[in-house]
Subunit: 494 residues, 2 copies
Amino acid sequence: VTVPSRSLLIALAKANLQSEADGALFERLARALKQAIADGHLGRDARLPATRDLAKAMAISRNTVVAAYELLSADSIIVSRGGSGTRVAAQGLPTPVHKAPAPESASRYAMRARSLGPITLVAGLPVPRYDLHHGEPLVHRRIFNAWRRKLAAATLRARSGYPCPWGFMPLREAICGYVKRKRGIECEPDDILIVSGTQQALTLVSRVVLNEGDAAVIEDPHYQMAAHALVAHGARVISVRTDQDGIVTADLPREAARLIYVTPTHQFPSGVTLSQERRLELLRIAARTQSWVFEDDYDSEIHFDGKPLPTLYSLDTSHRVIYAGTFSKTVFPTLRLGYIICPPQLRQDLYKAKLLDDLGCPSIEQAALAGYLQSGQVDKHLQFAVRELRQRRLDLLRALADHLGDQIEIGGQRGGMHVAIWFKGLDYCQFEQLLHLGAVRGLGLHPMTPYYTVRPIRPGMLLAFTSLTSLQLKVAVEILGQCLSEALQRPAAA
Amino acid sequence: VTVPSRSLLIALAKANLQSEADGALFERLARALKQAIADGHLGRDARLPATRDLAKAMAISRNTVVAAYELLSADSIIVSRGGSGTRVAAQGLPTPVHKAPAPESASRYAMRARSLGPITLVAGLPVPRYDLHHGEPLVHRRIFNAWRRKLAAATLRARSGYPCPWGFMPLREAICGYVKRKRGIECEPDDILIVSGTQQALTLVSRVVLNEGDAAVIEDPHYQMAAHALVAHGARVISVRTDQDGIVTADLPREAARLIYVTPTHQFPSGVTLSQERRLELLRIAARTQSWVFEDDYDSEIHFDGKPLPTLYSLDTSHRVIYAGTFSKTVFPTLRLGYIICPPQLRQDLYKAKLLDDLGCPSIEQAALAGYLQSGQVDKHLQFAVRELRQRRLDLLRALADHLGDQIEIGGQRGGMHVAIWFKGLDYCQFEQLLHLGAVRGLGLHPMTPYYTVRPIRPGMLLAFTSLTSLQLKVAVEILGQCLSEALQRPAAA
């Protein structure tokens, strides 16, 4: 048992854990611990105090300490290793954290951004043997060969000058055809603004429709980076729960929210689909309250069950929907190209915001992507990806039935690139143990907790099936089943 | 003589030209005319009312109307054609302008962005025969061949996943070596944040250090897009005059400005160099008032007169300088890659702002650029570019001496890619005539007016020498000399 050092306790005391504005106590503790690691109170690979001892020294509940460690563990900042206790990860913090500048030097934006919890950045972290991390699409070597040729052709034809800020016209034309084919959306090339991905789409939209303090709705659970962008921008973020039919429209705040951010096709991360009834209700509310709906259609191309429901953009007759599409899930994420289909009233504002933000996306890549779309290779790749991922998902579900059986419940699964599972009869202490056991045996497991504003009663995790083959998925699930049995042997917390 | 139509006069009356907050009367009139064109009160190629008639109908000074026409003409929205009067440009407005949405839908950011004057976008406009437009570097076909190979190599080695948001490490390392070699800057790869260019650098910095209403200083004259980004962000922009030694530090506001944006190596667009004495004074002021200095070192690589002065970043001992570099002028603009060298106190804030903004720049292009820098080809291209541009500049200056002689004065010219010239004994009416005559004969001329907060007493223009060869420059200047003689034959305004 390692007793907390005096210097660590002082650092934690200084962190002012009392301010309730900054999230739950366990989150504040996790941030304070992260800062203490950054400040060198705990070096790389240093052993953390036992949860029992730290709880006692700080006069707080042990569960709070456990939850804080869990958060840090989920972010790969600390690693639990059965016998040798919990330690700071060998690679240290993903990025160096410096002393905060004097408060007078930072804007309110910067202060809000600093207050946000840590985000798991996969880039640069060691990849576990069986990585079930979500977010990365199925990428075939073929894509890179095709992409190389498209880039070479585009470079030879390139104009060197500044790009058209709203996007390369042949790409916007190709996207018009693409969204009509894939999603039945009717629009004009001029409605399309090329952006560097959904993240930029959301930041541009925030700037154009939200003042500091304006209300914005997100789903609970939600994509962390979307929530963070809204919080940093200064929005008053209201999270509205989702059920098996998507966002619960009856729970939308009575006061008008300026912006409602939704993922209708496959709710992220729960995977459920927004029902047709809720879609219409959401659009009625948006029209009545003059709210904007941000439709993040990040992975609708990967759908296994017939065609996905029509987009909000197509259903909307009041021009309140801003549609965001991305090529991160259909080509590859490092491409950094996506698009906004702008409602007419916002088009000029969004155009101008893009111009002011970065003068426009690089044109060689836009030309290459236009060629890639026009050649039909993207459609062909998607056919392959859907076929392959459908099979992997079936194999994953079969393996889950074999090895975890009725110990889990499986969330929405009509498409997308991951499955959400929920554990029955497992408390969060046992779940933490499960994560540790998995990590030791090479499983890259991703808990649901970080995506929820309020921690769900049952622990859950995301299992993505893009980076593992069917065979690897079977092995991974078998290991997961063994880890679960072991974790359940630990007594549940009182 | 075309008398202004009733519908046009009503549109102009509705535009509420009385609000002095929106700039000088001629600027408000120019905006109102632009809106009238957008709204269809004047179609493509339609003839504008004669300045005299419009002035009379609106009961304002004719000079105001002339200045407004001049602004629109500089933005290629209208074209003056000697005999047939002034007409709306055949290509219409550079981008469609839609009806403004209902005010409740737009943020203060959007409202400010809308209020900004038009910006000349070269992309998509017809290129004149002798284009003296500034901003584009010297690009040799060789570059594209080399770039194609670097891209192909980077694509084959690429990791498909999300990029590291702060930048691809080998590129940051290569930039460390590059800025040490070129500018004597000592920094670590971790100090470097890869951005999509100087525009993004400035918007990220604004967000991190400026609240709405905070003071920010720009030079007068200045790069329009920088001023626009600051205004849209909500900064209270204070412009401080420059003289032959750069920004007049004695004129800096007494109240602390949070941010001071400067172009020390070659002031844009005047071309003067910030003197060593002023550099030190600026840094003293920044340290005392806890202001941040944004050093836009956009083209220091193109310098003809020994080495440029050391950067503010190198001179600064108080860590108040944010250094921004770009590859738009050394490789080509459509690359969309640049970098910030962050002062330590702002590093984490800027990192986070980049992450929240767009998740990072595309990594294939970053890897290609790293390879391109490491191969020594960028240095080699710069040697070629400096040698070639030095010769062109000499030829340009010689031609100016031959054909315009003592009718002009030439601004700072120790480097950069353009020369600023000022006309003696030419009033703005004659200058407008000169621009028209030039346009008719295929000269792409670019007046100084749009870069100034207050119109300079003498008219001036920028002559860039990157897109024309020495021979073409000689022909262009000869034509310019002829146009000047003709313009001077018109009587000066009272």
